[in-house]
Symmetry: C2
Subunit: 340 residues, 2 copies
């Protein structure tokens, strides 16, 4: 009780005049130990305030019951929602969750991967930075058969499972919706094209244009960091275009909202002059006026599914046969994209 001494199975063994081996087995209900002995062991353990030493166990078992997660940033609505879903599943399954941020830089992502490797995580969940172009930094883990699941911002690799939405389809849906509202000249605000999420949304945008027989105009695609500053900057570019567009499809809500606010200040009417569609369904989408049409993106579920899949893979101790898991998305039509 004085906080100095740590109770071990040896202490219990001594007290009960048994061997540590028996105590160890008794504590985990090994059938070879007589029921009554098991009960005595457990009671004594409880009484003496015994706590299993995970290091000793892990050292033997070569397992950590720990799952790692590497993401660009925690503090976005979408990402914190995903993590919440992950944590829910992971904790319910008796694993711990170690989190690290790559701060959107490749170097930090590499460092984090090394740390995770050293921490001997049993599995890893990763959402890549904008600019990650290869996954060599995960090689060490993969060689040791530690399963890695990429979610949202993924990398195509035959040994890993990806959990995503169909970004191409979503980009198509968003753009087609604008086209169906009679919009013809549509700006696309998108992120770094190295990353699947943005490359695919752009692809969908182009496909929708093509299906409607509208020529693709590269000058209407604005690549930027998709944050508040990016949205404002995009609005300024928008205002300088010779022929003013009548639609905007932004690859996330925060840039869409920032852009909207800037356009409103400039006297542009939404949706009369410009119809806008965002992406993510952040809470701000229902606060901005007019409310923002957007693609609903199931973050919590994505987290749950990624975590569940990872844990299953760990238990089966073989690479999952699933290569890609595609979740449903949904276009939520609100006032920002009504007909002219």
């Amino acid at each position: 009780m004085d906080g100095k001494k740590e109770v071990t199975i040896y202490d219990i063994a001594e007290k009960l005049d048994l061997s540590p081996a028996t105590v160890s087995r008794g504590l985990k209900d090994h059938p070879a130990i007589r029921k009554e002995t098991r009960k005595r062991i457990k009671e004594t353990a409880q009484l003496m305030g015994y706590q299993n030493n995970l290091f000793a166990s892990n050292l033997r078992a070569k397992k950590t019951n720990t799952i790692g997660i590497i993401i660009p940033r925690i503090n976005s609505y979408f990402m914190s929602t995903v993590i919440s879903g992950i944590e829910h599943v992971v904790n319910a399954q008796g694993y711990s969750l170690i989190i690290s941020q790559s701060q959107e830089t490749f170097e930090k992502e590499i460092k984090n991967a090394t740390t995770m490797y050293n921490s001997r995580v049993d599995g890893l969940l990763v959402s890549l930075t904008y600019t990650t172009e290869n996954i060599q930094h995960f090689e060490a883990l993969l060689r040791k058969r530690i399963p890695i699941i990429f979610f949202d911002r993924v990398f195509d690799d035959p040994t890993c499972t990806n959990v995503v939405i169909d970004n191409t389809k979503a980009g198509y849906d968003a753009t087609m919706h604008l086209l169906e509202q009679g919009r013809r000249r549509i700006v696309h605000l998108c992120g770094h094209l190295t990353r699947n999420t943005y490359a695919d949304r752009l692809k969908g945008y182009r496909m929708a244009l093509q299906d409607k027989g509208i020529a693709y105009d590269e000058s209407l695609v604005i690549v930027n960091p998709l944050n508040e500053a990016g949205g404002i900057e995009a609005a300024q570019k928008f205002l300088q275009l010779d022929i003013r567009p009548d639609g905007i499809f932004a690859a996330n809500d925060s840039s869409a909202v920032a852009c909207m606010q800037e356009l409103k200040i400039a006297g542009i009417r939404i949706p009369e002059d410009v119809a806008i569609v965002g992406f993510n369904n952040d809470p701000i989408a229902r606060v901005i006026e007019p409310n923002l049409t957007t693609i609903h993106y199931p973050g919590y579920e994505m987290g749950q599914i990624a975590a569940t899949t990872l844990i299953n893979t760990i238990h089966n101790s073989r690479t999952s046969p699933i290569n890609t898991l595609v979740l449903k998305h949904e276009l939520l039509v609100r006032e920002s994209s009504s007909a002219k």
Copy 2:
């Protein structure tokens, strides 16, 4: 290279014809090892792809280099920002971060505390649930001299350090601001009063009223979960009051915004009919129209400071002499609270 064999210091020792002890010392720059030997050891380690086994180290050192964090929910703007700050410091200092959510329930908080104890974290960062009334579930950790720092939602205990803002003063500032705009009948939308954050903000609200010689009217205080539903509900109660209030001070932004939206639908003009002040400075505060006056709450810094203090305490291996650390807050005046 085939992913089966793990390189240990024994392998390195054998290869260099040294003892494992020398290798162990060499790897961590023990001065008793000749510089040249150290270099050889490190090079060989690198070459063979050696990775330190943390369990073995931890088992001996009885340290984990891991910090735990227990919070009600990850997925709020404020909390994810705090965590981001924590992660930044913790990772820079070479620690890992284990996260768990109490989902705002006392039972889960107890379970999480036990898990953290079993994981042998070196220190713990905690933000309590609405209803936590004692900290007996942290006793086991405290007895083992594992430092705990509470942040934001804290509990007064002489053995722990708290990192907070002056909620009483902030509540006072917010209320006084409304009073100075000529508002006289002010509703206070607040959370569960067991928690310091809300109890103190209410206290500040009352003090401001008193300083202006206005009687405290209990019917104007609405206690609710401070989420979107809570904000809407509060708006409905507001609309049913006999004498309509002319000000609202909400204890967070999301409920304030939800409430505003509902009031706007009911035809109430903001700020003409009702002036509103929120709390937290969430991004939505600058999106809602009119922009929401609010208390800026330094989440990222709070996380950094809590983590830094914790790590210092761990290094000094004695309880910190600091009992409470109070951060600055700031009233940001926007359109939602202009004079009538």
